[in-house]
Symmetry: C2
Subunit: 447 residues, 2 copies
Amino acid sequence: MRPGFLASALVTDGPVDADLFLKQRSASARYEVTEVPLSALPEWRLTDRLAHTSGRFFSVEGLAVRTNFGPVPAWHQPIIVQPDIGILGILVKRFHGVPHFLMQVKMEPGNSSLVQYAATVQATQSNYQRVHGGRPTPYLEHFLRPSRGRVLVDRLLSEHASWYLHKRNRNMIVEIPPDVDVPRLDDFAWLTLGQLRAQLAAGHVNMNARTVLACISYAGNGPDPEDDFHAAVVASHRRSRSDADLADAMTWLIDQKELYTLDVHRTALSGLDGWIADDEGIRHRDGGYFRVVGLKITATSREVTSWTQPMLEPVPGNLVAFLCRRRGGVLEFLVQALVQPGLTDRLELAASIQLAPGYYRTPSDLPPLVEYLSAPVSQVRHSSVQSEDGGRFLRADTRHVVIELRPGQEVDVPPTHRWMTLGLLDRLVSAGYYVNVEARSLMACLL
Amino acid sequence: MRPGFLASALVTDGPVDADLFLKQRSASARYEVTEVPLSALPEWRLTDRLAHTSGRFFSVEGLAVRTNFGPVPAWHQPIIVQPDIGILGILVKRFHGVPHFLMQVKMEPGNSSLVQYAATVQATQSNYQRVHGGRPTPYLEHFLRPSRGRVLVDRLLSEHASWYLHKRNRNMIVEIPPDVDVPRLDDFAWLTLGQLRAQLAAGHVNMNARTVLACISYAGNGPDPEDDFHAAVVASHRRSRSDADLADAMTWLIDQKELYTLDVHRTALSGLDGWIADDEGIRHRDGGYFRVVGLKITATSREVTSWTQPMLEPVPGNLVAFLCRRRGGVLEFLVQALVQPGLTDRLELAASIQLAPGYYRTPSDLPPLVEYLSAPVSQVRHSSVQSEDGGRFLRADTRHVVIELRPGQEVDVPPTHRWMTLGLLDRLVSAGYYVNVEARSLMACLL
């Protein structure tokens, strides 16, 4: 994104009251979700894998994993395979010089909070090619050739790599010139970045919008004068952005990729050690990790009014946290190189702590640094509960936390971890598959 | 690589005569390669896959491929799986201000030409961790922490994705300060870039060295005054290097990734349609594509003096070609987005024409633009035969061709193809998995 684009982005009032709009749209639609047996999904078949009869959308398959990273050297798990590339796109337009983002109020069956702000367009290929015969995706033409707008952000980024195999989406921000009229449909609202910031803090922005918002490089902007931490965040976005800083970080990342192995094999669901796959769903015999269940959804505000689909429900309690510190006045964040089975290139940068209680059998399985999660409230700079993609994941809520170390407080940094400024993280997000979606979601919360 | 690094790199005389040195070292070692049954490889087992008893080095497995790219929508094939990341590293040092590259004379059992110049270090992880109990890899310490030299180039790049699954190597160029003494071992020589250029033209530089040399951004350098095409090559390296040019090319590449699908499954060798795997090797019943055979190698100039291993031998006749044109005085190269089954991210940029005769059953299988290969000699700017990695591939020779279009000669550019300057290609090579190894090898020949 070009420098200065976000000048005056902190304006907090827009043409609409963002809270009220969300409430009104929520009231205008009905929405019911019921768990059903997998055999009650008329278009899905459970064989060696769980798949749609059309062969499209996605499938759930088995995965055999081997790695020398972490406490468990080999395991089996189900994983979602969805090879097509979805578009997550936000349309932006200046009103009186202030950029406004066109956000859609969207209900997604898996979300714990009823409705949320989503990107302007959030479409899988099956989706926008209208495989399920629904309505066309509004505003999609602004993201496709030949009618594509001015591209500010366009990159392929990874999705949840514990649950998806090699999944990536196209994250786009496209600008419409001020003099071009874009009709606003009922479920859509133009919000300023200041309004989005408040909605993010309240957990009202969905996962797909957060990953797009994480691509905004916040360097061109004035800080909130009443918030010392926000000023430090803005300043951190301006630091360590040089090619030399990037090359140095890349070399460190390649060192990690050289150290750690990852070998994955797609296999039949029926052959997975420890997992049961039958009409009640796909789940681990110990109740850990996650389960895949059938759902029947009835809604009046989505493309079609009633449908069934499988969804993945993780064991609750997931958390993602940044530890940060000020060093020479510069705010730095602790990131780690983390191997995840579904990543395209073995490992990506993750937040300081990425906690998934469903995965730990014994306390020795816990990741390093968890003791910092009990920091006093005075050190907590951000705490919110954010939902994962409610189109695939059921009740998948992740607590997002940012903790600032006290001056002089030292951390025993594990060799997999490294301090980075937000400016360096911005450049790594830009470069492609280098920052995982959990960390990007947390970066969006720092906007 | 920093600008100006290669000033005076065209110096063609170095401390050694590069041709003579190659000849002498070649004479000092003996080398025999015999084809043997797979059962005669004592440490390899053919079961569902062909693997080393230690579980290391590499294995040959089955792959089921589906794609909507090209004339064949689905096929089975064997593929080499080698998940570790090798180091391909060249040491560079200035003598009297002129950069010299430390090249190793190496015999590799698969090469058609007896000996070649290789990178200073060319080591798989198994290799440098000395799994086979051989000698330590000389100069390796300059590429590893904590004794690593000054890093000029460091990037993970893809290898042959028709033959390898998700293989990548670490391409490094590391500089040693002029005042640090690096002892030169017998098989090594310090060559200037001008000397390397002559060796490249003669087909005396091996694949692994070519992919490292392709990372050199040649922009800081004066052209050869006697060679108009070389002047145009140097000028082309200086064009379209901006962030906006890169972003525009990325958007085009993502458009291609969105259009084309690739879904791969690792399977048992025994279940591959059309393929036979027995003691005589792994081959297609029609004799096409490639075969995997057992070899016994005896040498006095490698880490160990005698060993057996499988190798992949392609059907001969492979060719890679750039079409180029001058547009407004700027030399541009036609590249294509090409899906290959083993690529980490579905597709990468390839040369204008990438021809593998072993793959074509009927003339309609031939790729577009092959008719340009019959251009008259007056349009041929480069033609050489280069070998692929002789450690894995047997008699795998690829003709490298660069053809310049006549002024005004028009090409009907397929939608998968696009014109790019070398400057833009340099930036895409730097960015990671965007330019395939076949195209990078051809770029190295343009140095």
